[in-house]
């Protein structure tokens, strides 16, 4: 029990096989037991609100002001009007494209930077602690505060314009506002990918590299043939969750550029805006549409890159 190395292929493996079939019967129950806490928490905190929101999205309210008292009179019925508002109103295509383009740009940059970070962190011997601390910093700063920080950096008189020797009005509508959000988001979350990929690198047995080195493989080749395939599960999970997060992005553009700036308005922001104007049904419809969109993107992504992650066969090699 005390000496176990990752590459040790135990000769006794086949011996454990016969036990498997008998064990199978209880496996379902065991799995249910192991999974139930997760579903309890998720059902309570996510399930209930999601169901509530779904219901709300079909609730159509029409409001009028009582001419005598000035009080609001609300009549509600059930129907699809909220969804038709979403799809026929002017607040859909643009926010949808912003949402999508943020995801494409940020996630691509984050993967490139994050993987580079992980590789450097993994190889670094001296200064390793420093690098790890440094990498954590952007991710550890609460978005509320890093949003403020970037807002001042991108101020018209701010340090970004000073350094670039430019006079860009970052917070006005336009590509620059979009870019400022991508920059701030990439800075903040590349470490997330970096850390997860680093963890993936750390569980790769060192012997594989030794073998590749003995075979005389170039480091580029080693990266493509050994490193990348082996960190793929970690990378896929990291990217998947980044995609989910960026598609729901709300606070950063809101803080950094501001609400109702059309070039950075995301679907989440529109949902929020509808909610703050007390159109809860429309807000819920926006949220549901976004939910469906996120689900489609995530599904496509998993199908493309991570089929083995949700496949039924736990270990296909066996």
């Amino acid at each position: 029990m005390s000496v176990i190395t990752p590459t040790r292929r135990s000769p006794r493996t086949p011996a454990s096989r016969p036990a498997r079939s008998t064990r199978r019967a209880g496996t379902g129950r065991l799995a249910a037991a192991l999974l139930s806490p997760t579903f309890l928490v998720l059902g309570l905190v996510i399930g209930y609100p999601v169901v509530a929101a779904l219901r709300l999205s079909f609730q159509v309210s029409s409001e009028s002001i009582d001419p005598e008292t000035g009080f609001k009179v609300t009549r509600t019925s059930f129907g699809l009007d909220n969804y038709s508002t979403v799809f026929t109103g002017e607040n859909f295509l643009r926010p949808w494209w912003n949402t999508t383009s943020f995801a494409l740009a940020s996630v691509t940059l984050e993967v490139l930077i994050g993987v580079a970070m992980a590789l450097v962190m993994h190889r670094a011997l001296r200064g390793r602690a420093l690098v790890r601390a440094a990498v954590l910093v952007p991710w550890a700063i609460p978005t509320a505060i890093s949003g403020l920080l970037w807002k001042w950096i991108f101020n018209s008189e701010g340090v970004a314009n000073d350094l670039l020797n430019s006079k860009i009005l970052w917070s006005t509508d336009g590509f620059h506002a979009w870019a400022s959000v991508v920059i701030a988001d990439t800075w903040k979350t590349a470490p997330f990918i970096g850390l997860l990929v680093l963890a993936g690198l750390q569980v790769i047995p060192g012997e594989l590299y030794e073998a590749a080195r003995v075979d005389g493989a170039s480091s580029w080749r080693t990266f493509w043939r050994i490193t990348l395939p082996l960190v793929r599960p970690a990378l896929v999970v990291a990217v998947l969750f980044r995609i989910l997060d960026v598609l729901r992005m709300f606070d950063l553009p809101y803080l950094l550029v501001g609400p109702r700036k059309h070039s950075v308005e995301t679907l989440s922001m529109i949902a929020f805006q509808e909610m703050s104007n007390l159109r809860f049904g429309t807000a819920a419809a926006y949220a549901t549409v976004l939910f469906a969109y996120v689900a489609v993107v995530a599904f496509a992504f998993v199908k493309l890159f991570g089929a083995d992650l949700i496949g039924r066969g736990t270990r296909s090699q066996r």
Binding site: A15, T38, A124, P142, D162, A199, E207, S219, A295, L309
Partner: protein, 280 residues
């Protein structure tokens, strides 16, 4: 673990440049944060690269007794720490089930779990608030912990199951043959090997819940229970329109640095300990 780091001393300068670039990339904006926090409040519009004169007024303001910032840091630590521990335990069990057990509906399980990360959180605040009001959870820690857990669980479950799946199953079987129960085999063999993954998940969960604001600001209105994020959002200037940027940045530094230090210390103690135990 150290074997991989040994490969090739030849191009160490490339590595050094890489390290320098990453450190600079990560720390440049943070540097601006620190610099901004060290200016006098009156100098907050300055773009000088070094604060002059250096002043700790912003830190004094952040820790002003009325802010209760120290207490808020403790609350954050309590909420994030509890969230991390419970989330990890829950997620390890779920991750293990998904990675190691053959049962029907596995992809459905994974799909349901990740689907919980697909709904925009802002639309969940009001139903949650109703739920917690009915349950009498307003102004309690669990009203912050449980939502934080649910936000972090999907990532934790997916990530851990990806890591467990990578562990060679033969080791576990071997350990069981050696007389370990399956649980012991998991704890003594798989967990240490997956330690980098577990630990990284822990960091991510901790930071996620440390940074949670949306729910925390809504379910707690008692000063004594507010987390540091909420307290920072309360900071205003003396005259309502003046933004206390320096103080906000000082608070940001105070909220961030302990986190980074804690992670580094933990890393030494726990991860290196665990991996060493598993490998030697």
């Amino acid at each position: 673990m150290s074997t991989t780091a040994r490969t090739g001393h030849g191009r160490s300068w490339v590595r050094r440049i890489g390290i320098a670039a990453i450190v600079a990339y990560c720390l440049a904006p943070f540097y601006w944060m620190v610099v901004s926090s060290l200016r006098r409040p009156a100098d907050q519009f300055s773009n000088a690269l070094v604060p002059s004169p250096v002043s700790f007024d912003n830190y004094a303001a952040a820790f002003d007794e009325r802010n209760g910032f120290g207490r808020a840091l403790f609350n954050s630590l309590l909420v994030a720490g509890t969230t991390t521990v419970i989330t990890l335990v829950v997620a390890i069990s779920a991750g293990y089930a998904v990675a190691r057990l053959d049962f029907r509906g596995k992809s459905l399980v994974l799909t349901l779990v990740i689907a919980c990360s697909m709904f925009p959180p802002i639309t969940m605040v009001v139903p949650l608030l109703e739920l917690f009001t009915d349950a009498g959870w307003i102004n309690t820690y669990q009203a912050m912990i449980v939502p934080s857990m649910s936000f972090a669980l999907p990532l934790a479950v997916w990530n851990l199951s990806a890591f467990f799946r990578q562990m060679p199953a033969e080791l576990e079987s071997a350990a069981q043959v050696d007389g370990c129960t399956p649980a012991q085999a998991f704890r003594k063999v798989i967990l240490p090997l997956a330690a980098p993954g577990v630990f990284t998940t822990a960091i991510l969960v901790f930071i996620m819940s440390w940074n949670e604001f949306l729910i925390a600001v809504s379910v707690v209105n008692e000063r004594q229970k507010m987390t540091s994020n909420v307290i920072v959002a309360l900071f205003t200037g003396q005259y309502k329109f003046d933004q206390p940027f320096g103080t906000q940045m000082a608070a940001g530094v105070v909220v961030t640095l302990p986190l980074v230090i804690a992670v580094l210390v933990f890393q030494r103690r726990i991860v290196d300990g665990l991996t060493a135990g598993g490998l030697k």
